[in-house]
Symmetry: C2
Subunit: 907 residues, 2 copies
């Protein structure tokens, strides 16, 4: 018998939107997002493509789902938001998954969360919308009447590039327990009763009232006419899963193509497995980011979520299980702080400060404390704080238990301070702070929330009782080196010193010496980071001074007003923007009620955005015989291509063909080459494409293509390019008036240079193309996310040497574009169309986020020179002699709302 029966896996059982899924061939490498989007879920008869791929690394929240689990000990159901792009399906045994389709759909019923978001203009391109819905849904399942802070915090992990967030938060304001309506209905003061209305909520903040028409009658945003949220209408937790959780547990094993997933049921079993497979990682939330497909490879994965010891939360002492997630840690600490004497909770408060800003709620809900500690990322925020707080790790192995200090040496990975391969972190002891302790946490990132720190820090000083004499001092910095760094020597030198200005300047000097950052340090921004080192120290100095005064008000002086100002926290929280639709004023009173022009009408696809039913390119059902495409891009900035060796790629199972510039029957691009021909002119330029039966196979093939380059001198800056006369287009010059005469007779000449940096467009939907060759006449249907359909049609037709009318370009909607989908999508369409033409099969080409950012390059940097002459004149009309200068303004809002740019005139 030649048919090998595969190694037996356990059945993976979970629920999706109330339906049971039994997966008999669960692959540990399969992640929930792709599973939902591509698999026919049993009985559901459709792919759950409402959950979107935005970044694939848990950064944007477009893939948010809700994971519900039952804790048989606490007899509690937990609902947590999660980034499905990171979640291995194997981690879902016994869990109930809710996707946006399960929250509500046009076919079933539209959920209030979806309805309000749509009707309050909370969606524009709509691509982030399902994730927004899911984040709020998970919040409301846990907190029926959340605070505005909770609402905003729930959206921490969700990026939107169109709206600026204000309309989204406005939509959900109506679920908040604080009264947010003007509450003046009928008094003649409500937004509904007035022609114009700017009013204040009872909290004193100015809030927004949105008046919109649906269906063409005015409704107040916070109007009770919105159908209320009715918790009885939601899916209950499946009783079957409750029974499963209470039953005798048994070890679960899932064999994938190359990875085996083992979920033991007891600590002893885990320790045995860890002894047997010392290299096997313990995976809880799988939020640690892997750089490549191969980086992520582990033959064995241990999944310790069913081990009670790793979930211990001691209410009597300060031990927390290593498998607890960061959101749990936050909730535990938040509950503990008010109950304990303040002096004991200083480290808790410092941790909480970071736990509120670290990543998004989805990551916080999945990432484990133990994982955070053991992975020891240089800019992981909690480690410096835990370390200065002298936290202790409770380790276990087959050989017994022991404790190690979570100190700077552990964080640096020093062998003597590290955990051994057979050991696991069972729990973490976070000691209470003492009376004379001062602990602070600092971080600086590109945005307040959901951004990795540029530099972070944990600092602690312990004074000799009742004095300001330093008895102990710890200062740790993250984001400087490859691990968290300690200013251990500096601190030692400062012991015994008084907490005063002399100590501070000494400290700054010492720290800058010890924490050395060479000017070529990876990550750049060296000056900035150096500044942060001392800025954090200065602030700690002030915080402690302020603390000393508060503790001993008569012994230590109050801070000056000026210094106090440095301690003020930056405002965060509820956006203060206001948008008022003046319905009756904006439109002509004679306008027919049926005429929508000028009225704030819901986005035509608003409801579909919110229910996930809006179809984007990659949501189009697979087509018979479809191939996936992955590209090979240049790793050189400027080089000749000497050879392309695809032989190994072609041997990868499932790889059908490798496509290069030679396969383009017609024009290979227009301003840029679609496939690089003789040479490459930038990193990320597409050289060839691998088409295969699956995305994984195509990517695997692409990695195996060998390209030999002969380097040429790279041109890296605009200045370089000017020097080499390497221009994309003609130099642009805007002149006005008689230049020569103007400057000759000028009273004053203003001149200068203007540099504007490049910027990612970061449309939430990455570039996506689906090309379907028709059988007849070489016709092709091109489904593409573009702002310029005609360009796609023309470039594809000219690449294939066909008349334009043979190419049907379909654009239903784009998931964000912002100018970034004007020219590039045409090239991607050519890439896919040439492959489809060569193979005769449909080709899907959906870029991964990193590839999209690498290849497209974003908005390019600008460099401009201006020179304006001014002649003072007695007559007002001739007061200024003007030239125009092109100035590009990029306005970046919170978390990167899409920048606007325009040409501004100077007169």
């Amino acid at each position: 018998n030649s048919m090998a029966c595969p190694q037996q896996s356990d059945e993976l059982i979970f629920f999706v939107n109330g339906r049971k899924v039994i997966e008999r061939q669960a692959d540990p490498e399969e992640l929930l997002l792709y599973y939902l989007r591509k698999k026919h879920i049993l009985f559901l008869n459709f792919r759950l493509s409402g959950t979107k791929y935005g970044c694939g690394i848990g950064g944007c929240g477009a893939c948010t789902v809700m994971i519900s689990t039952y804790d048989p000990v606490a007899k509690q159901i937990q609902h947590r938001p999660a980034n499905s792009c990171l979640l291995p399906i194997c981690s879902l045994h016994g869990a109930a998954v809710t996707t946006v389709e399960g929250v509500g759909s046009i076919k079933t019923r539209i959920h209030p969360i979806q309805e309000r978001l749509a009707k309050c203009h909370g969606s524009q391109c709509g691509f982030c919308t399902p994730g927004m819905v899911m984040s709020i849904y998970a919040l409301l399942r846990n907190h029926a009447e959340p605070s505005m802070e909770q609402i905003i915090s729930a959206l921490d992990g969700n990026l939107c590039r169109c709206t600026g967030y204000r309309p989204i938060i406005d939509s959900y304001r109506s679920f908040a327990r604080e009264p947010t309506c003007c509450q003046l209905r009928g008094t003649g003061q409500c937004c509904l009763d007035q022609e114009e209305c700017v009013c204040s909520s009872s909290t004193g903040d100015q809030v927004s009232y949105i008046r919109y028409f649906f269906p063409l009658s005015p409704v107040c945003l916070c109007n009770p006419e919105f159908p209320p949220m009715d918790p009885t209408q939601e899916f209950i937790f499946p009783p079957e899963l409750m029974r499963m959780a209470q039953e005798q547990l048994r070890t679960l094993i899932f064999h994938g193509k190359r990875t085996t997933w083992i979920s033991p049921t007891s600590l002893n079993e885990l320790l045995e497995l860890k002894a047997k497979y010392p290299k096997a990682p313990l995976v809880v939330g799988n939020t640690k980011l892997k750089k490549t497909h191969h980086d992520a490879y582990h033959p064995i994965i241990l999944h310790p979520v069913r081990i009670p010891e790793m979930y211990v939360v001691s209410s009597t002492d300060d031990v927390i299980g290593a498998a607890c997630c960061l959101a749990q840690l936050r909730d535990i600490l938040m509950e503990a702080v008010p109950k304990l004497p303040e002096e004991k909770t200083k480290i808790y408060q410092a941790l909480l400060q970071h736990l509120r800003t670290l990543a998004g709620e989805q990551i916080r809900s999945m990432a484990s404390l133990g994982g955070h500690i053991v992975s020891r990322g240089s800019n992981w925020d909690l480690n410096p704080v835990l370390s200065v707080g002298k936290s202790v790790l409770n380790l276990a192995s087959e050989d017994g238990k022991r404790q190690v200090l979570l100190n700077d040496q552990f964080l640096a990975g020093c062998e003597h301070a590290d955990i051994k391969p057979k050991e696991v972190i069972v729990s973490v002891l976070i000691p209470y702070s003492m009376k004379d302790d001062f602990i602070s946490a600092f971080r600086q990132a590109e945005s307040q929330k959901n951004a990795l720190s540029i530099v972070n820090s944990g600092m602690r000083v312990l004074f000799s009782p009742g004095t300001d004499i330093i008895a102990d001092l710890s200062i740790l910095y993250g984001g400087i080196g490859s691990t968290t760094l300690s200013a251990r020597k500096s601190c030692e030198k400062l012991i015994g010193r008084q907490w005063n200005d002399q100590m501070l300047s000494e400290a700054c000097k010492l720290v800058l010496e010890e924490i050395f950052l060479p000017s070529s340090a990876p990550g750049g921004r060296v000056e900035y980071r150096r500044t942060l080192l001392v800025s954090f120290l200065f602030r700690f100095y002030l915080e402690v001074l302020h603390g000393l005064h508060q503790m001993y008000p008569f012994r230590y002086a109050e801070l000056s007003q000026e210094k106090m100002s440095a301690l003020v926290m930056l405002p965060s929280g509820v956006p203060q923007g206001v948008q008022i639709y003046q319905v009756r004023c904006d439109v002509d009173s004679g306008q027919s009620p049926q005429d929508p022009v000028g009225r704030p009408i819901m986005h035509q696809s608003g409801i579909k955005h919110a229910t996930g039913e809006a179809v984007y390119i990659d949501d189009i059902r697979p087509v018979d015989g479809e191939l996936s495409l992955a590209v090979v891009t240049s790793i050189r900035a400027h080089a000749k291509i000497i050879s392309i060796d695809a032989s190994e790629a072609l041997r990868v199972p499932g790889v059908v063909d490798v496509v290069t510039a030679r396969d383009v029957p017609g024009e290979n691009g227009k301003d840029e080459q679609a496939y690089a021909e003789e040479k490459v002119i930038c990193v990320g330029q597409i050289i060839c494409a691998v088409v295969a039966e699956s995305v994984t196979q195509a990517k695997c093939g692409a990695e195996k293509v060998k390209i030999v380059y002969e380097d040429l001198e790279p041109i890296l800056t605009i200045e370089d390019a000017i020097k080499h006369k390497s221009y994309i287009t003609e130099e642009r010059k805007i002149e006005k008036g008689d230049i020569e005469k103007g400057f000759e007779s000028a009273d004053e000449i203003i001149e200068g240079e203007l540099h504007v940096g490049g910027q990612e467009h970061f449309y939430l939907e990455t570039n996506s193309v689906l090309v379907i060759p028709r059988v007849e006449d070489k016709e092709m249907d091109v489904y593409v996310s573009t702002q310029h359909a005609t360009d796609v049609q023309e470039l594809v037709a000219s690449a294939l040497n066909l008349q334009s009318n043979k190419i049907m370009c379909h654009v239903k909607r784009v998931g964000g574009a912002f100018g970034g989908k004007i020219t590039k999508p045409s090239l991607f369409a050519v890439i896919a169309a040439v492959a489809a033409n060569k193979t005769g099969r449909p080709v899907r080409f959906v870029l991964e986020r990193n590839m999209d950012m690498l290849i497209t390059g974003g908005r390019h940097p600008f460099f401009g020179k201006y020179k304006v002459s001014e002649r003072r004149s007695s007559t007002r009309a001739n007061a200024t002699f003007c030239t125009w200068a092109g100035i590009i303004l990029n306005i970046t809002l919170r978390k990167g709302t899409w920048g606007c740019w325009w040409m501004r005139s100077w007169t």
Copy 2:
């Protein structure tokens, strides 16, 4: 281990268009047509949908492919056309299949057969075209320069409903060895050199010269400028298969879902298997028609094609292997006849007469002699002739060999004369005829070729040597009863009689008494069939008289001129039509050469028709999640529907849903109900639909739906309907003039009735719909073969309660329609769209031929009354007083070319 590994099958190895196919899960129930159309053939990357489904029973030739095999004994390659709709893939081990895609394609090269057919206007709807190409291709592979008779005979099994065949035969005339061009090129007389040209071929027949423009320059039809057929460009027979054929043979076993196919290598092994599985049929060409899916079911099938004894062709005696196909038999007999004394070949000649007209070349190439004999169909043509010729069957079983007579008792299935369950027919002995033998074969069918006989007959008389005294007489008739019937008693009574008029009238009386055909006999047309009984007898009488005269010209008188006329064969062969395109005359001389109007330009899709690349509805690639639909139709002419029980159908694996009138959200049809509601008004009315993952599952589900009827009085004729006042539309009356006055003053009144029967449209492409719901807004794409796209759009929209713009109706082309696809396709589209709407999945609904004919009902019969008054008048202007009467003329050409109808005016 819960995964059962399936029973091990052998690898089925065959070639398709030069590529090797290894099928590891060959299912004996899978037929080649469906396999080619639906499977991705390894490496080919596309479905071979050029091979079309027209009837599914080997009757229309649209599915023709060429099967090439190698005979290791004769060291010969045989190319035979075959109906792929009947061919089990398991029968293909070691064979090379050529489909129309293998003959030529736009992507590779267009074959001369394809080019000439397209350019000579041989395609109209194009659906039969690939089959035409394949039939001629198979002919040309065997005969590079065929005769016109061979060309026409090669097309016997191919139906075309558009062209009338003439242009097709004209296209292929250029391949014939007879000179067919006007041969006057350059003399100033050629059709190309003249303004007008009607000329004769050297054979004396008027032939057609077609002048056409491609690309806009005139070419003579038989022009040498056509690229010649170059045999070196064709696929060679795969050497690998040649090696396979010469290797040691071993038994092949293929296990299907419910059937096992066994192909033994020796007679002994076959006999063992037949002893073990006495009910297992021996299948060679699988041309025996099965009525239903279940009729066709056999758990074991034996395939005896590799047993040398069954292929014996004795050149010394008259034994022919039972597995030889009818085309082989024909070729053997044609070769034998000129070599043997004429008196010995009388039975051969009678057999040849039938072998030329029986079915089409595809069936003749696959059907085996043994299968023809043993299946004993009442209107199988050869059996009566073989029987009167006293043929003998050589049988074998485990118990040994024996012979039985192929006589009337064998044909009637009498137990004592029959073969036993364990026996197989190894070969057939057809004895030479004798000097005083006269053997004739008769058949009457709806067309000369490719039609089952209505009545057939074999007759033989043996005279006492040198006399006209009947020594032995046999008369057998097919098509009368359920088996072939013998006039045995009548014949016995006539022995000893002289061959004269008295004998004839006695014989007629006796035969009509013995071969009794009750007026309610199944099949109807009783009077006609009775007439045929004696007509055949009369003709036999004359043929024998004529033969006696020829043998003994001085003893027996010559037939009168009148009687001789009855012996003339109906003309057959080359069509005599002429079509002349008067290029320069038809279009205005001032017409721009770029202006195509009025010029005989090739069909825009002509080449695509001929290469099979033109896409019809069922050629559209499968869509993700697509369901197949089968309908349950009424078996009552008029009845109330009491209940529909779908419970058993829903339990069939793969069945997704059962759809009834209750699932129609809007209007259920327009003039007719799409799904029957309360009652049915005809047999074949659609009551409900079963949707399933596969066609087989849907059909199986449909068979399991139980419907309880309460019969109502049926209305079966137009007269009945008038009596019951059951009208579809208002009665139509066409009146002209002052009716009352006209009839009062009439000199003459002509009145009468006019009955016109119904007729099948028989478009080659059966009704086909593919409905694809879009995900958004309940939009649907409806791909449908219709003449009335707007009607489809409107009916589907109104059935689903949607605006019309939600329904996109796509019609690229139809594979024949002839008025039959004006109203019915809309109903089929509603059937499918309602199912798609209910399930949310794409639905494909392609009718099988029998269902299409059952449901659509064809052109309905007409009944008209006319009354015309005529008043004789002295003035010419008033010579006739007219009324109009509707007269419908149906003109049916050979093999049912589509009828034209029009209203003709009488004046």
